[in-house]
């Protein structure tokens, strides 16, 4: 009797802990089935691989964003940051720097810029949305000023990291999977990782427990910069041209991926696995629309509805879990 109860509780515990991630995974599966039936070419190896590797950089950026959101903050400047870092990488390699340098430097620059952002938020007490709004403008304007709006072309062959394949799997997919697993493991198991959840859940309680919320906050931003740097390198090594602009609305895509993946904007919960799954969902959705012959016009509306549905499902689950827990 007790054993049956506890196994039931195990499953419901698993579902409530990973519920959101399972919902997203479910959506992906449903989409594959629906589109695959309609046009089997969608399930083609080349197609799926292309979608995953083309959008992997969003998943990597979403890992960093998830860290920031879990600690209770947000960053709307990540789009512009990726643009800046991509230009840094391109400029370095075109001016003769070794290829590996042009991959590594953007990562450090990203960490540096976002550490500044973290310091503004943690020590100068500027709300994260305000600080990152300001940073967005500074980066966007600064990038155009620095490049004069010119494209960067003529990168040497070895530069294109994102086009390489290791064991017949494209490099971006390796990055996406390995980084997600590492980050998720680190946050669950290592004390420093778990402080993120603590600070996001209740900063005062965390402080009372001896954790310095400010230091944790800055660390979250610095790591976010690390991931943004890697994402930028994946982003700019895919094509032969580096623009001084990034896909419109990139920051909102990254934030949405984190949130849909289960990271609560209220802070304190969610995993990076969810955000990676959500990035995959979005990447596939765009392609799925084309395969389904859906008029491109309705794509964004469908996306909005999907976000709403997922969030509502999350809130419903949360309140059910809470009322069950207090019962």
């Amino acid at each position: 009797m007790a054993a049956k109860q506890s196994s039931g509780r195990f499953w419901s515990g698993l579902i409530s802990a990973y519920g959101q991630e399972l919902v997203v995974l479910g959506c992906i599966v449903v989409m594959f089935v629906v589109v695959g039936t309609y046009n089997p070419r969608f399930l083609n190896n080349t197609n799926l691989v292309t979608i995953f590797s083309g959008n992997a950089y969003i998943a990597v950026a979403a890992i960093g964003m998830s860290l920031v959101i879990i600690t209770g903050n947000i960053d709307v400047s990540v789009g512009s940051l990726i643009g800046v870092l991509a230009t840094v990488a391109g400029t370095l390699v075109v001016n003769g720097a070794p290829v590996w340098v042009s991959w590594i430097v953007p990562v450090f620059v990203g960490m540096a810029i976002n550490t500044v952002l973290g310091l503004l938020v943690a020590y100068l007490r500027i709300p994260a949305i305000v600080a990152s709004l300001g940073m967005l403008s500074i980066l966007k304007g600064g990038l155009i000023t620095a490049t004069g709006g010119k494209w960067i072309t003529g990168m040497p062959e070895g530069f294109f990291l994102a086009q390489q394949r290791w064991f017949d799997v494209p490099a971006p997919i390796w990055f996406m999977v390995i980084l997600t697993v590492l980050a998720a493991y680190w946050m669950r198991v290592f004390p420093t990782g778990r402080t993120f959840y603590a600070v996001g859940g209740n900063a005062e309680a965390a402080r009372a427990a001896g954790i310095d919320p400010r230091r944790t906050c800055v660390l979250a931003f610095t790591l976010h910069g690390l991931f943004a740097g890697i994402a930028a390198v994946l982003f700019c090594t895919q094509l032969q041209v580096i623009q001084s602009t990034v896909p419109p609305g990139l920051e909102l895509t990254v934030i949405t991926a984190s949130v849909i993946g289960g990271v609560s904007i209220l802070g304190g919960t969610g995993t990076v696995i969810g955000s990676t799954l959500a990035s995959i969902l979005f990447g596939c959705l765009g392609s799925a629309m084309v395969f389904l012959n859906v008029s491109a016009y309705w794509l964004r509306a469908v996306l909005g509805l999907l976000i709403l549905a997922t969030v509502l499902a999350d809130m419903a689950r949360r309140s059910r879990y809470q009322s069950a827990a207090t019962a």
Binding site: I74, G134, S137, I138, I144, T256, V259, A301, I307, V311
Partner: protein, 314 residues
């Protein structure tokens, strides 16, 4: 007491605005002319009208990212109601505004009934409303409005741009409601401590529904004005408006955490932003430099304001 007024954010901002105006005037003789100031006011009106509603929302600790999309949707609906459905233009305008207000109501509904955090809810509706605009219009524009319609966006009444009259009227109403009426105090209460507000008998949900609907309503008005100003409708109108408006509101001293802020502050913030955009361009700075400058001003103002507050709070 005087010290408190002196170090209020709004006062600092007003001083900053005066300094900026003076500096920019020295950079170009075209800046501080009646004609330019009126023109800037005309360009600012749409953002200003939306900013009025955004102030209320941010004071309650919420946010509305969907205002730009509502503007675009209303613009499209205006064209559709008038040209495709064939309604008389005033009726089309009215219905479009109603639709936009309903969009705001929907935002409020999701936020209050389903307890979705405003950031997420309006992030979703940002995509949804923009998507509806694109889908309904199929990216085709509607043009060819009658002459009288353009007076709203391009004309003057007694020498002042028409939309400026609309903006000023709405601003006065907004200042009055937020600053003087009990409803305004309710808004501040919700922003300071929503739980306490609820326990003291304030109908938090009803108030939130009202302000999100109002935000949709104001975005609709701005949309109609915008269509009148450019004489056509496009599904991408208003993209990026939300970030500009939020910048202006925060610049104006409204705390993103809620509980503090005034409409006057938002107006000052708007004026400062518009002055910078205009003055810097006249001084020879190109678009990218202006974008950077606004980012620096935003962060700088908040830092300064925080420093002052930390000193006085003690």
């Amino acid at each position: 007491m005087t010290k408190n007024i002196l170090v209020r954010h709004e006062t600092i901002l007003a001083a900053l605005l005066v300094v900026a105006l003076m500096v920019l005037t020295t950079q170009s003789s075209h800046f501080f002319t009646v004609e330019n100031l009126l023109n800037q006011a005309r360009l600012m009106a749409e953002m200003g009208i939306v900013g009025l509603g955004m102030t209320f929302i941010i004071v309650t600790g919420g946010i509305d990212l969907s205002v730009g999309s509502i503007l675009g949707l209303v613009a499209i609906l205006l064209g559709v109601f008038w040209k495709n459905v064939g309604l008389p233009l005033p009726v089309a305008m009215f219905l479009a505004v109603v639709a936009g207000s309903l969009a705001g109501l929907f935002n409020g509904f999701i936020i209050t009934r389903f307890k979705v955090p405003p950031l997420i809810a309006t992030l979703a509706t940002l995509a949804l409303y923009r998507g509806l605009a694109e889908g309904i219009s199929e990216s085709r524009s509607v043009r060819g409005y009658p002459e009288w319609f353009y007076v709203l966006g391009q004309g003057d009444v007694w020498g002042i741009p028409t939309q400026l009259w609309v903006f000023l009227a709405l601003a006065v109403v907004a200042i009055f409601i937020l600053g003087v009426t009990p409803f305004g105090r309710t808004i501040y209460a919700i922003g300071s401590n929503a739980v306490a507000a609820r326990f003291s008998g304030i109908s938090v949900n009803r108030s939130l529904l009202a302000i999100y609907t109002a935000s949709g309503f104001l975005a609709s008005i701005a949309g109609v004005i915008f269509v009148s100003r450019v004489s056509t409708t496009r599904s991408d109108m208003g993209t990026g408006l939300e970030l500009d408006v939020i910048t202006a509101v925060v610049l104006g001293g409204t705390s993103i955490f809620g509980g503090r802020g005034t409409v006057v502050g938002t107006l000052l913030g708007l004026m400062l932003m518009q002055a910078l955009k205009s003055g810097l361009l006249l001084a020879g700075v190109k678009g990218d430099g202006t974008i950077t400058a606004i980012g620096v001003v935003l962060i700088g103002t908040v830092i300064v304001s925080n420093l002052f507050r930390m000193n006085t709070d003690g």
